[in-house]
């Protein structure tokens, strides 16, 4: 066992964060179920999930602020599971920033260096202030700074120590939307510049997708799916991921044929094709499957033009229940026999004036954009939580 660990350690490079069978239980409540996770060195990694999904607990276990109930944590080849937080080469940017109110900005930033006995900190502190563009605020107290500035101080205070891993616990949660977007880009810039591994905890799926190279979607103390943002978005493996990341139309369907490369299914009287390799579970004839398609992949045609739709596309007929114009696109809600309240996002290129609530329409899309999910799952998993988080 030891040999094997050492071996993999050599192969995967020195600085990966490796969680092996890590779990956390508070009494009878399991905050985190045993999970394995590897964060590659130098990557921007996001732990995404609704509040209470175990993402912050996982982060705190890496920081050493929380003792895991089972499992081990490795930084590179070093087992840090039993190290106290002040002995780990890991720094955290806290959700509330947790800046020391009795110290000025430069003292806050120098705190970590001084604790490790480094005497001449001025140059490094100045460089750090420069990096986060707060050079003129060195002698200010934290309470004299705005939320966004405090946030940057928190980042600088952690980064100055050149940690192997920087942990960010919802660092943008307290900022307003515009500042949040700005800070997302800022953090991404800093990460690219310093090349340190960032582990970022967030409940904002857009934030995770914009910033991270890799996203682990967590739900109920487990990792639901792990992958690059585009991969997670295009190929969700569970209904939770499908609904939590963006919006998905999930239609309950029955399998008709499994012969070819496409699976033929029926829903609400119509027939749909799903690429066989995009079905997450084994499909068998007569079984149930959840057919999914993203709203922006769907085109909308007025029922009168149904004839002009190219062959081979998936079609669903329905009636527009609601439409809202949001500038770049128009969002429609369509009720159909296949499923209620299907979402369609149409680019505003040439607007068809007949597409108003009450109009009979045909929804059509390329079958390649369809995915199939295990029908045993809750079809609405992850839907409500997005609204809560927003």
């Amino acid at each position: 066992m030891t040999d094997k660990t050492a071996h993999t350690g050599k192969n995967t490079g020195g600085g990966d964060v490796r969680l092996t069978g890590i779990s956390k239980a508070y009494g009878s409540f399991n905050a985190v179920h045993p999970l394995d996770l590897t964060v590659p060195q130098g990557s921007f990694f996001a732990l995404l999930g609704a509040s209470g999904c175990g993402k912050t607990t996982t982060l705190r276990m890496i920081a050493g602020l929380e003792d895991p109930t089972t499992g081990t944590i490795h930084l590179g080849d070093t087992d840090v599971t039993d190290l106290p937080p002040y002995k780990r080469p890991v720094n955290t940017v806290f959700q509330s920033y947790a800046l020391f109110p009795h110290m000025d900005i430069s003292e806050n930033i120098a705190f970590g260096l001084r604790r490790r006995g480094i005497k001449s900190v001025k140059k490094q502190v100045d460089d750090m202030l420069e990096l986060v563009q707060l050079g003129d605020k060195a002698r200010h107290k934290p309470h004299q700074l705005s939320g966004g500035q405090q946030q940057r101080v928190a980042v600088a205070r952690a980064l100055i120590n050149h940690p192997q891993v920087l942990l960010l616990d919802e660092p943008l949660g307290a900022l307003d939307l515009k500042l949040r977007r700005q800070m997302q880009l800022e953090l991404k810039r800093i990460q690219t510049e310093v090349g340190i591994t960032f582990v970022h905890v967030t409940h904002d799926q857009e934030e995770a997708m914009t910033m991270a190279d890799q996203v682990a979607v967590m739900n109920g103390g487990r990792v639901e799916q792990l992958g690059a943002p585009a991969d997670l978005y295009e190929n969700p493996q569970t209904t939770f991921v499908a609904n939590f990341l963006g919006t998905s139309n999930l239609i309950e369907a029955e399998v008709l044929e499994t012969g070819g490369s496409d699976v033929l299914v029926t829903a609400g009287g119509g027939k749909l094709r799903v690429p066989g390799d995009r079905c997450t579970s084994a499909v068998r004839q007569g079984g149930k499957v959840l057919v999914g398609v993203r709203p922006e992949k769907i085109s909308l045609a007025h029922a009168d033009d149904a004839g002009s739709i190219a062959d081979g596309r998936n079609r669903v007929t329905g009636r527009i229940a609601d439409s809202s114009f949001i500038g770049v696109s128009t969002q429609y809600v369509v009720n159909s026999p296949a499923g209620a309240e299907l979402q369609v996002y149409e680019q505003n290129i040439e607007r068809d004036t007949r597409l108003v609530p009450g109009a009979e329409v045909v929804l059509h899309w390329n079958p390649a954009h369809t995915f199939g999910l295990d029908a045993a799952q809750d079809i609405d998993a992850g839907v409500e939580t997005v609204e809560d988080a927003g």
Binding site: G64, L65, F94, A98, F100, H102, F111
Partner: protein, 311 residues
């Protein structure tokens, strides 16, 4: 046409203004109304007696012939040169008691603020529980606790603690009662809650995440306390030490009940000058000297502690 509109407007303006201003003027007066009872109280029971005492301190005469204001400032100098040992003793006892209160109170306040969990409220009630008994009775109880051959004194004797304290001049032989140590013990006991409560308040306000942040930034628990917790609790330390030191330096009950003639504090002198010797000018002068010393010491202390810098 335009002229009439103009005059109308001008005429209307003064009517509008008072209507708008009246409620705001009343609102502005509210703080002063709220201050009034306190100001009256201070005037009648603090400022007036203070002026009265000040005039007493520069009077001469005797009880039989009556006292007259003669601007006799010599009384101050005489009082100070005669009773300076009592002043020194008062400040020494009060200072020692304050330090002991801080050493005893800080760990307890820390425990209640951070570690007590659901026991927090119970512990706070226990801290103020002594107040349910009279100050005098509690001090008299210490007479029994420190009496010769009491359990405490026997144990201290057996452990040879009293040999050390006798050598230091805090106790005498195998006795504790009627020694400086007894007085300091009484002062410490009586003023401990006044130390614990402000300490608890300022510790309790410290965000627990600051401890986590410090530890995350390579500070061991001891360093975290030294660099984060203690500096942030300074407002509590300052107000706790002031609430202990100021009343303790003017106290006379503990020295009266637990001490001897060798442990008289300035409070005892003032009391006996006022009530037994009936030398009112000296008593008043002593009060003002004590007040001046304490004021100067407190000002220097607050300046040095730099509390105005703390959030």
């Amino acid at each position: 046409m335009s002229t009439t509109t103009l005059t109308k407007k001008e005429g209307a303006a003064p009517v509008e203004e008072p209507v708008l201003r009246k409620p705001s003027a009343r609102k502005r007066l509210v703080p002063y109304w709220l201050l009034l009872p306190g100001i009256i109280w201070l005037l009648v029971f603090f400022a007036l007696p203070l002026v009265y005492q000040a005039s007493t301190s520069v009077q001469t005469g005797s009880l039989e012939q009556g006292f007259q204001v003669t601007w006799h400032f010599q009384t101050y100098w005489d009082a100070f040169t005669e009773y300076w040992p009592q002043f020194v003793r008062s400040l020494l006892y009060a200072g020692t008691a304050t330090l002991l209160c801080l050493l005893l109170g800080y760990p307890l306040a820390y425990l209640i603020a951070f570690k007590a969990g659901r026991w927090r409220n119970l512990l706070l009630v226990l801290v103020i529980a002594p107040f349910f008994t009279s100050f005098l009775i509690r001090t008299l109880a210490w007479k029994t606790i420190l009496a010769d051959d009491s359990l405490v004194v026997d144990v201290l004797n057996a452990l040879h603690v009293l040999d050390v304290t006798s050598w230091l001049g805090w106790t005498e032989g195998e006795r504790v009662l009627a020694t400086p140590m007894a007085v300091v013990c009484g002062l410490t006991y009586n003023f401990l809650p006044f130390m614990i409560l402000p300490l608890y308040t300022s510790l309790e306000r410290i965000d627990g995440r600051l401890h986590e942040a410090a530890q995350d930034l390579y500070a061991s628990p001891a360093t975290t306390f030294r660099k984060v917790t203690f500096p942030l609790s300074m407002p509590g330390v300052v107000s706790g030490t002031l609430l202990t030191f100021i009343p303790a330096s003017g106290d006379y009950v503990n020295a009266e009940l637990l001490g001897s003639t060798d442990t008289k504090m300035v409070g005892n002198v003032i009391q006996s000058q006022f009530l037994r010797v009936l030398d009112y000018p000296t008593a008043a002068a002593l009060s003002f000297i004590l007040m001046a010393i304490v004021l100067v010491m407190v000002t220097v202390y607050i300046r040095r502690a730099g509390t105005e810098d703390l959030v």
